[in-house]
Symmetry: C2
Subunit: 311 residues, 2 copies
């Protein structure tokens, strides 16, 4: 039996998993991400933790095919990171460094791309070769899989779906500094913002008016209760996201679009609002694109990272 | 010396070229596209023409590595076409059929993807591995090259940049049946339409008012004469195209965007209008994307098709 290791580095914890090559997960665990001192301990900590687990599981060194790593930053095709927002790393040759520490083959990718690859390998996109995954969380992340491989791009910034232009008239700035990005309407905070704007516009009765602080979850809960204002908000969310995904489909021509992240926990009900607007605008060749809710949750990253080793 | 053949099938003529593997073109020529009888003669005509040229050039059969073919329709990764607008073909297994007729290895792709690949191999994108080409002609075509290979997609419809949503408020339909596609503003006919709409809006003096029928070329000619109305029209064109290409860049992260097609004959002056709006909206990682005018003209298709054989 051969094995591969998947690592998903986050700003607070590093998630790790050991997989058989058939996708069976043998074990998964977490360690803390030590971001102090420019994150100098992160890779040695990962190496040490994998070695401990290897011994515990009685796996021979030569049976480990390699380590795949997902990083919350653009990663170029040489496994190099230019900068990170929350790991402490500036320029870092992640692939080379971890290979030198561990002696294993290492492959490195962007975490959103790894999540997409994970859903393709073991999740909702199983069996597909052309897939897009959108992660609707605090922000909007994206991963594009072409012919079974993540779209990396020149700067490792492929699949930045959250920053396509959804509204030319927007006056507020996105976190990235530009205006009108999809992330301003389709992330959890974006949905809450759409709700605040709509509630301020008139005095229509809504369950949402009782809330101290409106969250995306409350908007979807109110929708399920039949709240009309909540439905208008979700329609608006669906239009921004559906139109944007029609653009993504025109460029990428995926078989499947997987919707993940915290917002996707509202369930399949959100798909009808996205598909309605997607179909209104999609190029005819893309009208058969399937929409699916992600199933792997927080494990998607380690699954995709491990898959990187299997090619 | 080894050779590869590039074929670019159009609705009126088929363009052909024989290339050395280093990109040197040995000969190029054209034959008529016989679309009658459901286009049944097109592939045999191509085979016959290549055989005649091979004999004329004194090339041994075994020195021809294969034939690459560009088709004006979506082509899937098996070299199969589902339908064509102007060749007479319905479902056609182009790769299999031409391989059976000729005995050579055949690779088939969409013509816009082939043009992009051609510019990457021998033209303005030389040396790049991640590139987008936009062809601004009667319509707006697009080709995306990822890691040196065309983005084909599930249905062979990858890179349909002309059909991304550029204007949510549009009331007129695009040729594809949907509303607000980039093609309605950035193609030659789209630019002429922007001109007609703007000229009808008020009575401002313009060189364009003397024209019987306004074309994109006349708009750019007037721009070069300092015509203010023409400049407003080109600004509008630049905004639609620049914003749309910022979206493409966010998804694909290209090193270079190549602008080709009839509209690009206006020259580098158009790039400043596109880049201005591109930079206003581009994700920060994409701000260094280069813009270049295509250089291969009508030869791009045969160059890219030939390159398909070299991998």
């Amino acid at each position: 039996m051969k094995y591969c290791v998947g690592v998903d580095i986050g700003g607070t914890t590093v998630k790790l998993g050991i997989f058989q090559t058939d996708g069976t997960i043998l074990d998964k665990w977490e360690i803390l991400t030590r971001t102090e001192n420019a994150g100098v301990e992160i890779l040695p900590d990962i190496a040490k933790s994998i070695e401990e687990k290897r011994v515990e599981q009685n796996i021979e060194t030569e049976d480990i095919l390699g380590i795949g790593v997902g990083v919350p930053a653009p990663v170029d095709s040489f496994g190099v990171v230019k900068n990170t927002a929350n790991l402490g790393w500036g320029y870092k040759e992640v692939k080379r460094e971890l290979e030198e520490i561990t002696g294993y083959v290492v492959a490195v990718g962007n975490d959103a791309n790894m999540a997409a690859l994970g859903e393709m390998w073991l999740g909702s996109g199983h069996g597909q070769k052309n897939m897009v995954m959108v992660t609707l969380g605090t922000g909007v992340g994206g991963g594009v899989i072409i012919d079974g491989r993540p779209l990396v791009g020149k700067n490792g910034a492929g699949g930045e779906i959250g920053h396509i232009l959804a509204n030319r008239q927007e006056r507020d700035k996105c976190g990235c500094g530009k205006k009108g990005c999809l992330e301003q309407y389709a992330s959890a905070s974006g949905i809450a913002r759409l709700a605040r704007i709509r509630l301020a516009r008139n005095n229509d009765w809504s369950l949402l008016r009782d809330k101290q602080k409106i969250t995306a979850k409350e908007v979807f809960d109110a929708l399920k209760e039949g709240d009309k204002v909540a439905e208008d908000i979700v329609e608006e969310f669906g239009a921004y996201l559906g139109y944007a995904l029609a653009d993504v489909a025109a460029i990428v021509d995926p078989a499947v679009i997987v919707i993940g992240g915290g917002v996707s926990k509202a369930g399949p009900i959100i798909l009808q609002y996205i598909k309605k607007y997607f179909l209104e605008k999609a190029f005819f060749a893309n009208e058969g694109t399937e929409f699916i809710i992600a199933v792997l949750g927080n494990d998607a990253g380690i699954c995709g990272a491990a898959k990187m080793i299997l090619g």
